[in-house]
Every structure is written in structure tokens, then in C-alpha cells.
Amino acid sequence: MQRTKERSDVFMKTSFLILLCKILRMVGKMVGKGSSLPGRIVLKLDPNILQKIKLPEEIVAVTGSNGKTSTVEMIAHVLQSNGKKVAYNKEGSNQIEGVTTFLLNDCTLGGRVKSDIILMESDERFARHTFRHFTPTHYVITNLYRDQMTRNGHPEWVYDIVGESIHEGTHLVLNADDPLVSCFGLGRKDVTWFGVDRLPFSTDRNTSLYNDGRYCPNCKARMTYDFFHYNHIGSYHCTRCELHRNPTEYTVTDASLEDSYIVINGEYRIDLSFSGIYHFYNTLATFAICNLLGIPGEQIVASLNRYTMKSGRIVRFAAGEKEGTLLTSKHENSISYDQSIRVAVQDKRDTTVTVIVDAISRKYYTSETSWLWDIDFELLAADSVKQIILTGRYCNDLAVRFSYCGIAPEKIHVIEDIGEAVTYMKEQAPGYQYVITCFSDKDKFLEKVERRNEE
């Protein structure tokens, strides 16, 4: 009798907390609050709440330095357009509190998650806390780069933390072209590898300013590369230990940056609404996991063809008479900058490139600008780039860095105030406009120009 009562108390309490979470989320939405607070409150009341709800059979987690949000958005889109009910944290609330909010929100009061599949964007540093409560059936790891090192330490530090979040019984879906990510597969059998074959844009040498693939992440001996796609992403093997690029089950066998398409496994062509190598990888990872979850290749292609991202990383704008594109990058992440710079210099028209560094993060404060020395700004010495505008609080740090790029000083305009920089752009900046900046700073620019559409 006593035990039954206890059990029903537990049940009551869980139901109550689910209801509380739903109400808090509803109120939060009305007053425009973020999604982590309801989860935080519920976790205070019951730290083990996530172990008490009934989860669906498939739980997919996605982590990595770059491309998490885009990949999760595309996976959700493919699954939903193929009739699956998907619960996912679409607001990028990828820490334990946000995950709790979105899971409880999707629960019946009886404590059963209603969706067929849970899809989570998982913060690489917090996964070990989240996955204490439940274990993903599939774990997609896109890449590990130098990223937000002011809180992440460095890639190997993050590697160790992500490693703690990998449990027995989880099927790993790994980027074979990233040597550090590949280390997760050492000695494991339940791994699906994805990667990109040698293509016209691949290079024999690492062309970026540093090479984190120079030494093996497993044993620190020299590594040898057959080719690079960008930075340390490519085909490699260690000269001493067994680490090498694994044969891939899901492979981009053909692709074109100019015509924006990829072909997977020689037969599935996907036309992309935006070009870029990193977007190829995100699309490939999406294809791999959706196919593993049982969606046939043709149907994935149908869902992904010309799919336009909702997360709005690429924004077209007009500044007075000038047309332009804002390429959202990540401060403290040289690879994301390198990618944006490549997009800008691929354009052979006359261009002006504006770089904004004002708030280094929107989540925390720092003055740390050492990452500017890892970015290949030297590429902007291209003839097509007629002028460069550097703006924001850290424009002088940018100006120091740019004085080492082989760019004629008269091309470079340092204007601290973003408003004045926009005025200059409208009146004097030649050609098509590219703006490269972070989430933390992009609205400071976009509010001063006219937005076109988003891709």
C-alpha cells in the first residue's frame, strides 16, 4: 500500500512538473523569454526528471564545432517532410535546461514523449551532463575545430569532454575527414562514416594559417595528407599509429561550388540553395543520418533539393544603392571566418568587404582577439576586393591584423562606429558588398540597411 502511494506520488510529481514546464514555457513565449528558464526551474525541483519520462525509440544528437544548428534544422525538415513527428530544440537552446524544456513540452501529462524521434542539437561542452539522463541512439559529430576557445579551452579539451558523453549502445555517425573526430571511432564497431572524396576544390597542401592536422591527435606523430578540403579536413593517415581516414559509407562523390550541387554515393544529386564546402558537409551528414533512420535516398533528395535554411546565416541586403550579402560567421572561430572569406573572394565582380568585430560574444564578455591571427585574411588581398571596411569596438585590432595581409593601406578604412561605416558604405564603397561578422554583431549592421531575403 505504502509503495503504491509512493509510486503515485512520483507520478503526480512528474505530471505536475511537466505541466509546470508547459505553463512556464507558454508564459515565457508571451513575454519573449528564452527557453532555458522553465527547464532550469523544473530541474531544481527534480534533478532526475528526464529519467522519469518515457522516450521514443530513436534519439538523435548532433554535436561539433560548426554546423550543428544548420544540420539539425535540415534533419528535422527531412524527417518531418517524410511523415515523422520530431521533437527538436529549434531555438538552439542546446544546454541541459533547454533540452529539459523542449522534452517536457513534448510530453503527455502521463510522461510520454509524443514524437517519434527526438532530435537534439547538443552543446559539445554540456552533452556529458545531458546524456547522464538518457542516451542517444545515434550521435552525429560534425567536426572539432578551434572554436570559442575563451570558454572551450581548445579542441582536444572539447574532445575529452565529448568523449565522456559517448556511451555504449550509441551508434556514432562521424566525419571521416576530421582526424580529431575520427579518434572517437578508434576501436569501435558501431560507427557510420561520412566524407567528401577528392574534388576540384581540394588542395595538395594546407593553405590556411595553421595546421591542426600536422600532428596525429591520437599519438602526436606526423600525419600525411593525400589532400585537404579546408584547414585540417581532408584525407590523412598517421605515420605511426592506426589513425587514418576511414572508408566512408556516405560520400560526396561529385560537387560543384559554382553550380551549387553535390552528388552522394554517385547517384543522389542534391541542388543547394547556397554553396560552400561546409554546407556540403552539413547536407551530407543530414543525408547519412536520415538514411540510417530509414528514409530512402530519393526521398531525402526530394526534401533537401533547393532547401532554404530558416536559420538565416546568409542575408541579402541593400545599403542605399549598394547590394550586398552578410555572411554570418563566428567570432573566435577562424575556420568559419575562412569559409566566409572564401565565399567573398570566389565572387569575381568588384567587391567591398566589411568586417565587424564589436562584441566578441553575445553570451559572455571578453576582449580576447588572438583568434584574428588564425584567420586567413590574406585571401582578401585578391584583386576583386577593391576596398575593406573594418568597424566595431575592436576595429583597431583588425587594423593591426590587416596591416600584415599584403593589402595596400589606402584600400583599408577603419571606422569604429558601425553607423558611420554604413554611411561610408552607402556613399563610397565600390562594387558588391560583403559583410563578415558574428551573430553577436550582425543585427547592429542589419538594422541600418534594408534586408532583402534570407537563405
Partner: protein, 243 residues
């Protein structure tokens, strides 16, 4: 003059190549003839050839591999230090100068033993913080960022006194080490780029090694403005009584 960028391709975690790029130009601006030499794992090292020696930060695992390599050339480095060659080690590279480094698993790695201190790493907390420091070398406060997981015990001659940041151990405001012309610090930035005064000090120390050198003061507008922007932003975050 020859500058050595030691382990340029592995101890380079926090944009630290910037230190060498800017230093090289500033020395040239003084009319000096400068060659930068990069050496790394697998290379033989002879420290008697250089007028300046630099190394930066690496991952904890990289640092152990580098240490193992550097141990073979320990005496050559110790002699250069005793002769007063300017040396700058930023990040965890300076930990190698001590007697040992104990990693997060508890394994003790014998270090160079050039200076009497020990380092202990752990894997739970990363100490990450902006920093403001003062030192005897220059008048201007020094700015930077600390990114480490270690603490250093037994340093008797620290380089900095911090008003913001994380010291050699959790219970001290003392940071880094200073011995003869060796500067060791966990402050990154890159340190010399972010701090024009410290850069000037270093240029003078290196320049002085050439007979007949006289230092010509030069202004670097953007470096000075960048320093002020960072220092002002950081100072705002100090408690009122420390501003």
C-alpha cells in the same frame, strides 16, 4: 639577428604566431636585419645561435611531446638563458622550464629543471579569464587572457601582479615568471601585439644585443588604439576601488 620561433607548428594555439610577425616588423623598423627561424619536433636545436627565443601555447598532450623533445637540448637552452638571451614563453610552454609537470591522470613528467617550480594539471576546470596585470618592466598595465588548466607552485620571481585574472595558483595574484631576460606567462593576446609597451621593451632588449644599437621611439597608431580599447573595456569591469 636571428629570432627562433620554437615549435611554431604545434605550440601555436592562441594566435601566437602574431607575436613573431609583429615583433619581426618592429625590429626591422629599428633598422635591424632580422631572420626568423622556425624549429619544431624532429629538429636539432642549438640555442647559442639566436638573439631571441619564443614559444607559445599548446594542448596539454602536445606540450608533453614537445617537452620530451626539448629535454634533449636542455643544457643548450639553460646556457642561453644564463647568457641573458631574451626569451618569451607564453601559455603552457613556460611550464616546461620548471622541474616537473604532473598531468591530470597523475603522471609526473620530468621537465627542464632550469627554474625551481612545479606544475600540476587537472581536467575538470579550465581557467579562462581576461586579465589586467602590472609589472616592473613597463609602466602601462598589461592586458591579456588566461586559458589554462594548470597551477604552478614555487615560482619565486613572478612576472606580473594581477588586478584581474588568474594567478600561478588559485590563491595568488602573482602570475608568470621572470628570470634574467626570460619572461614566462599564461597571458595570451597575443601578448606583445596587445601590449605596445611590452613590445617596445622586448625590441630594446633584443636590439641591445647588437653593438651600437640605439632605440628610436616609433608610434604604431592601431596597436596603441587597440590596446586602449581593450584596457578601457577591461578596466570598466574592475570593482570601483580598483579602477
Amino acid at each position: 639577428m636571428k629570432l627562433l620561433f620554437l615549435y611554431y607548428d604545434i605550440m601555436n594555439l592562441y594566435g601566437e604566431a602574431g607575436n613573431m610577425r609583429v615583433l619581426e616588423r618592429h625590429l626591422r623598423d629599428q633598422g635591424l636585419d632580422i631572420t626568423v627561424v622556425g624549429k619544431t619536433l624532429g629538429d636539432a636545436l642549438d640555442f647559442s645561435q639566436y638573439d631571441f627565443i619564443y614559444a607559445g601555447s599548446g594542448t596539454e598532450r602536445s606540450q608533453k611531446v614537445v617537452l620530451h623533445h626539448l629535454l634533449e637540448f636542455r643544457d643548450s637552452l639553460a646556457q642561453a638563458i644564463q647568457r641573458g638571451v631574451p626569451v618569451l614563453f607564453t601559455g603552457n610552454s613556460f611550464e616546461m622550464l620548471g622541474s616537473s609537470i604532473t598531468d591530470a591522470k597523475g603522471t609526473q613528467h620530468q621537465a627542464l629543471g632550469i627554474l625551481p617550480f612545479t606544475t600540476t594539471e587537472q581536467s575538470r576546470t579550465r581557467f579562462v579569464t581576461d586579465a589586467i596585470a602590472s609589472c616592473e618592466l613597463v609602466e602601462a598595465p598589461v592586458v591579456g587572457f588566461v586559458n589554462k588548466c594548470s597551477s604552478c607552485e614555487g615560482i619565486e620571481t613572478p612576472l606580473f601582479r594581477l588586478s584581474m585574472g588568474c594567478g600561478n595558483t588559485s590563491h595568488t595574484q602573482e602570475e608568470g615568471l621572470h628570470y634574467r631576460n626570460v619572461l614566462g606567462t599564461h597571458l595570451i593576446g597575443p601578448l606583445l601585439v596587445k601590449n605596445p609597451a611590452l613590445m617596445e621593451w622586448m625590441v630594446q632588449r633584443i636590439g641591445e644585443r647588437k653593438e651600437g644599437f640605439t632605440y628610436t621611439p616609433k608610434h604604431y597608431e592601431y596597436e596603441e588604439k587597440a590596446y586602449l580599447a581593450t584596457y578601457t573595456a577591461l578596466r570598466e569591469r574592475l570593482p570601483d576601488n580598483q579602477k
